[in-house]
Point group: C2
């Protein structure tokens, strides 16, 4: 017996549940965004800055995925936004079952935009549809400009890429022009943003894009 | 049928092969080190700096694990050290089968210290013994000081932790004292190194530790 049929069955069941999640979000007029990045890529910080920027313009909720701890959900709740923390135990990605349970705890009728922050991992989350409408990857400047060579799957699979921590560009080697070329080679239609959550550079463009994706109820 | 028996069988088979790999390394007097970190944590850069520092003192070989590309093995070969690149396809970690095949391509009779650079991932590699003698994790300053909260498994599972990119400490928030306290809470016996491959700070202590672990043939 090979492992393949089991994996296929798991992914098939996940897709069914993801479709249910998507229908539930749509029934409430919620746009779901699955945020994926390596550990320390700046997911939570970008979400917090985005909440601040969209204050009074879009109602946001957040699902936080981590192996352990509640520190990310605590940070989001501290700025007055509903957040559910999923702890995956040892699991290296979120799945649609976990998201389905988290959705039941959120006031969806009062949400326009849902961020689902995946477990920090450039590989495993890519295979699991959670029921989102838009997939966004983050890659941070100090990770280096060779990531599209090494993790091509995630760059090919997302709608947008946010390059974070651009304030560190003076201190680390990173060829932005070559990086952009590599990313567009893997995904010609990708939306590219380059931001610093420290200086605020580039955030306006990202926030404008989110405004276009979502509708205020 | 649940997934558990399949997973147990895969891990059991992996352990048998890992034990074979370890015996093969020992028969040739080679000490194997499994290097694990998040994408962009600085694994290849640390290996390259260590090769330079141990020149003439220890004979090194490297197995490079990546989903795609050969750029890391190319960098190692460029400094005159034997290297084998494993491309895992989509797989998120190395396993003992892949390492067994790579070992067959290395001149083990002429190697004292083998670095096995795992796929960039803080989660999945931890479960797979490759036949190494020592497990080392890297965590880089720009990833942030909260990683032990979120990925406790890897901090508990390794013999040593190398904090990399300490030259970036002036530019990012990172509480080193609190980070050390968290890490030692998860793993009281861990060896802790703090290095910058840019300035060279802290590398002497790391290299000295490798000298003690290994023997020149």
């Amino acid at each position: 017996m090979s492992q393949i049929p089991v994996v296929e069955r798991i992914l098939g069941a996940n897709e069914d549940l993801a479709a249910q999640n998507r229908r539930l979000l749509e029934a409430h007029g919620v746009h779901g965004i699955n945020i994926m990045a390596a550990p320390g890529g700046g997911k939570t910080t970008l979400i917090l800055r985005t909440i601040q920027a969209l204050q009074g313009r879009r109602k946001i909720a957040v699902i936080e995925g981590d192996i352990a701890s509640t520190i990310d959900a605590d940070k989001v709740r501290a700025v007055g936004v509903p957040a559910v923390q999923i702890n995956t135990g040892g699991n290296c990605h979120l799945d649609a079952v976990q998201v389905q349970k988290a959705l039941a705890e959120l006031p969806l009728e009062d949400v326009d935009l849902l961020f689902i922050e995946n477990v920090g991992n450039l590989i495993c989350p890519v295979a699991f549809d959670l029921g989102e409408h838009t997939r966004v990857a983050l890659t941070s400047i100090p990770e280096g400009d060779d990531k599209p060579h090494k993790y091509p799957g995630i760059f090919a699979a997302v709608d947008a890429l946010v390059v974070t921590k651009t304030d560190l560009l003076p201190w680390v080697p990173f060829n932005l022009a070559e990086f952009r070329r590599l990313v567009r080679g893997l995904n010609p239609d990708i939306r590219l943003f380059e931001v610093s959550c420290v200086s605020g550079a580039g955030l306006d463009e990202w926030v404008q894009w989110l405004m276009e994706l979502t509708v205020r109820k």
